[in-house]
Symmetry: C2
Subunit: 468 residues, 2 copies
C-alpha cells in the first residue's frame, strides 16, 4: 500500500476548488474560446503561446518545442530533490468543428447548459489538461511548491496523429527522464467510474485501389474477359481475414506478444455481458471471431476493419456494368508486439503476393503502447482516485483510442498511464462536444491527489519500506 495522502492538504484543495468554481470555469471558457484546429491551421500558434504563458505564470519553465509541424509546449517545474518526475501529456489542438449548423451553440463560443460546458475542445483535450495545470497551481499555493517534478508536454498535432512528436521529444529526451507519464484524455466508464488504462492498441490505416480496364464496360460483353477490380478486392480482402474472423495476413498474428497473467485477470474482470453489448449497438449477433471472450476481441487480438469499399454502380435497381476502378479503405488495430511499421511491411508483402496490381496507400499509423500492470506508480494513482472519489478505478489493460502513448513507452522507454477525466457522453470529435463541469472540478482534485500520492510513493520507495 502507498503512504496515505495528507488528508488536510486534500481537504484544502477540495475547499479551494469549491470556492473557485466560477473562476476555473471562466479560465476553461477563455481557453476553449481560442480555436486551435490543427487540421485547418486555425489559431494553433496563438493557442500554443497562450497555454505556454499560462504555465509560465504558474512558475513553470515553459517554452514552445518546435516540431516539423505545429509546435508542442514543454514546461517543467521541479519538485523537491529526489522526488519523482511525472510527465503530463495533453494536447492543445482540437478537432475541426465540422458543420456549425449541427451545434446547438457555436463551437468556439462555449456555453454552459445543464452543468456542462459545450464547445470544441472542452473535453478533448483542453479541460482535461487544464485540470492538471490548475492542480499544480493549487499545490504551489498551498505548499509553496510542487510535491514532485512535473513536466507538461502539450501536443499541437494530436488530432493529426502526432506525426512529428517522436523526433521532437527524442531531441529533448534528457529533459524527459521521468518516472511516469500520465495522460488524461477521453471519457470515463459509462457508469461514471474512472479508468486507469495501461495499454493502447495501435492502428494502421491504409487504402487498396484496384484498376481493370480503361473504362467501365458492359458486363454482357466483357463479364469474364476484362478484370473486375471489385472481384480483385473481394478476393484480396478475403485472403486477409477469413470468414471466422481470423486475420490471415502472413506474419501478423505471430507478432502478437501474449498478455501477462495480471493483464488477463484484469481483462476477465472487465468482461462485459454480450447481450448488453448487442443491445447497445443494435446488432443481432456479434461479428465472427475465434476469440473466446469480448475482452479478447477488443484487447488481446488485432482487428482488421473495412472502413469503406466502393466501386461500380450505386443507383437504384441494376446496371449491368463492369466497373474499372474500386477502392477499399481499411484499418488494422494492433496489439502489443505489433509494431506498425513491421505490420505495414507485412501488408505490403501480402498484397504484392496476392494482388500484385493493387495500389496500396498508407494513411496513418500509431504503434501500440503497453505499460506493465505492476508498474510501481500505478498504485498511488489508483489510491489518489479512491481518495477523491471513494471508488477504485477500473484497471483496464488495453483500450482503443489514438493517443501517441507509444512515443513515451516505445521510443522513450517510460511507463505511461491513461486516466481520463471526461464524461462518457463528451461527444469528442462530434458536434456539441462538452465537458461535464463536475468532471472538470473532480479532475483538478484528482490531479492534485495524484501528485501528492506519487510524491508519497517516491518517499516510501526511497526509504525502502514500500512494496515496489
Amino acid at each position: 500500500m502507498s503512504e496515505p495522502i495528507d488528508p488536510d492538504l486534500l481537504a484544502a484543495t477540495d475547499r479551494l476548488v469549491d470556492e473557485r468554481r466560477q473562476r476555473y470555469l471562466d479560465r476553461l471558457r477563455d481557453y476553449v474560446r481560442m480555436p486551435s484546429v490543427s487540421a485547418e491551421d486555425l489559431g494553433v500558434a496563438e493557442t500554443g503561446a497562450y497555454i505556454r504563458d499560462v504555465l509560465a505564470d504558474g512558475g513553470f519553465d515553459a517554452r514552445l518545442l518546435p516540431t516539423a509541424g505545429h509546435p508542442a509546449v514543454l514546461a517543467r517545474r521541479d519538485g523537491p530533490p529526489g522526488s519523482p518526475h511525472v510527465v503530463i501529456y495533453g494536447h492543445y489542438d482540437v478537432q475541426p468543428a465540422g458543420d456549425d449548423a449541427l451545434w446547438d451553440s457555436p463551437p468556439f463560443a462555449p456555453e454552459v447548459r445543464g452543468g456542462k460546458l459545450f464547445g470544441r475542445g472542452t473535453a478533448d483535450n483542453k479541460g482535461q489538461h487544464l485540470a492538471h495545470v490548475i492542480a499544480t497551481e493549487l499545490l504551489v499555493e498551498l505548499t509553496g511548491g510542487l510535491p514532485c517534478t512535473v513536466t507538461f508536454v502539450l501536443d499541437g498535432e494530436e488530432e493529426l496523429g502526432s506525426p512529428h512528436l517522436e523526433p521532437a521529444l527524442l531531441a529533448v529526451r534528457d529533459q524527459l527522464a521521468a518516472d511516469l507519464v500520465l495522460v488524461s484524455d477521453g471519457p470515463m466508464d459509462p457508469t461514471g467510474r474512472h479508468q486507469l488504462v495501461y495499454g493502447l492498441r495501435g492502428v494502421l490505416a491504409f487504402e487498396m485501389s484496384a484498376t481493370g480496364a480503361a473504362r467501365d464496360l458492359h458486363s454482357g460483353h466483357f463479364g469474364e474477359i476484362a478484370p473486375n477490380p471489385l472481384w480483385t478486392l473481394v478476393h484480396l480482402l478475403a485472403s486477409m481475414k477469413d470468414s471466422d474472423g481470423t486475420i490471415t495476413i502472413d506474419g501478423v498474428n505471430e507478432l502478437v506478444a501474449p498478455m501477462g497473467e495480471a493483464e488477463r485477470a484484469a481483462m476477465a474482470a472487465l468482461e462485459p455481458d454480450p447481450a448488453t453489448v448487442l443491445a447497445t449497438i443494435g446488432a443481432p449477433k456479434l461479428a465472427p471471431s475465434p476469440a473466446a471472450t469480448l475482452g479478447e476481441r477488443s484487447m488481446a487480438r488485432p482487428t482488421l476493419t473495412i472502413n469503406g469499399l466502393h466501386g461500380g454502380y450505386d443507383g437504384p435497381k441494376i446496371k449491368t456494368v463492369l466497373p474499372h476502378t474500386a477502392v477499399a479503405k481499411c484499418d488494422l488495430r494492433l496489439v502489443d508486439g505489433q509494431d506498425a511499421d513491421t505490420v505495414w511491411r507485412l501488408v505490403q508483402e501480402h498484397v504484392r503476393r496476392h494482388a500484385p496490381g493493387v495500389r496500396l496507400t498508407r494513411h496513418g499509423a500509431m504503434h501500440p503502447s503497453r505499460t506493465p500492470m505492476d508498474t510501481p506508480y500505478a498504485a498511488p494513482v489508483a489510491h489518489a482516485v479512491r481518495a477523491v472519489t471513494g471508488r477504485e478505478p477500473l484497471h483496464v489493460p488495453v483500450a482503443g483510442g489514438s493517443l501517441p502513448m507509444w512515443v513515451f513507452t516505445r521510443s522513450l522507454g517510460l511507463p505511461a498511464l491513461l486516466l481520463p477525466f471526461g464524461n462518457y457522453d463528451e461527444a469528442n470529435h462530434a458536434p456539441n462536444e462538452n465537458l461535464d463541469l463536475t468532471c472538470f472540478y473532480q479532475g483538478i482534485r484528482i490531479s492534485a491527489a495524484v501528485l501528492l500520492a506519487l510524491a508519497a510513493e517516491g518517499r516510501v520507495r526511497r526509504s525502502g519500506t514500500g512494496t515496489p
Copy 2:
C-alpha cells in the same frame, strides 16, 4: 445449298431502294420523332398505334396485343399456301434519352450527320424493324404479295426486359406456329460484317444487402465486436466465385448444357486475338478464368459480375468507421441449360447457407436462348446476306444482349435467329444513338432477300430435293 434467289427480283428491290432513299429516310425520321420511352411511359401508346397503322397500310392484319404492361403489335400477312412462316420480332419502345445536354442534336429531333441518322431509337430498334416492314412493302409492290407468311411481333417493353411478353405470346401461340423467328437488333461486327447469331446468353440480376449494427460505429471500439456488413459481403462474394474465376455457387455449373460440335467449331472460328482485346478495353491482362479460350469465356460459360459494391466511408484519406450497411449488385450471365429461375433458386439457397442474414433481391432475369446451328432456315438467311453483301455472315453460336429470344425458343419451341442490321458504333442506350443510313438501306435489301430465300428453301423442302 438453297435454291438461288431470283436475281431479277433482287435487282429490282435494289433499284427501288436506291431511288427511294429520301422517302425511306423520311419515314424513319417520322418514326424516330415519336418518343416511345417505356421506362418513362412517354408516348408508348401513340407509337404502338402508329406502327400498327403502318403495318395495316402495308396489307397486314395488324392489331395491338394487350399485355399486363405496354401492348405489343401483332401483324400478319399470309404468303402462298404452304410457304414458310417467319415471325419478325422487334421493339418499338426505346431507352430513356438521358441527359439531353450529352446529345449533339435532340434525341427526338432526328438529324442526319455524316451519313448517319442521329436520334433515340434510330438503331435500337426502330430503324432495324422498319427495314423489314419496308421490305415487305417492296415485295408486295413487285410481286403482288409476300413470298412467305410474315408475322411481325413488335414489343412495347423490350427496354424494360419484356416482363409481360411471354404470357401475351402464349395466349396467341396458335397464330405463332412459325418456321423461324428472325430478329434484327444490335450492331454488326466491328469490320462491318453481318452476324448470324444462334444463341443468346441469359441474365439474372440481383442485389445482396447486409446489415450489421443499428448505426455506424467506431472501428477502434467495435472492430471485431459489431458485425461488419462489408466483411459479410466480401466473404459471401468470395464463396460465389473463386479467385481463379470459377463460379462456386452450388449446382450452377452442373446445369450447363455442353455445346455441340458445330457450335464449338463456330466458336473456334471466331476466337479473337487476346492482345487486340486487351488493347481495345485498355486492360493490362485478362480476368482470371479457368477457360482455355476467349470464346469459352464469352459463349460457353456463365459469368458472375459484381456491378457495384458500396458500403462505408467514401471520402478522402481515412475514417475509422465500422459501417452498418453495405450493398452488392451482381449479374450472372447464363448459358444454355441454365434456366434463370432454377439458377435464382440456387443463388437463394447459397446465400441462405453462407450468409443467412443477407437480404437478396431479384432485379431482372432473362433465360438463355439456343437455336441449333443446323436449323434448316439458317442456310437461306446466310445465302440472302451473301447475295446482298457478297460476304458470308459470321456464324455466332452464342452472343450477349438482352433480347427475349427465350420466349420464342424456350416457351414457344421455335428456332430463332438474330441478324443485326446496325452499325458497330450505333451507340444504343447511349447519347447520340445513330443508324448508319447505308446499314438501313442494306437492311431493307437483306430483309427482302431473306424472305425470298426462305420461300425458296420452303419450296425445295416441300419438293424434297434440298439438303434439310
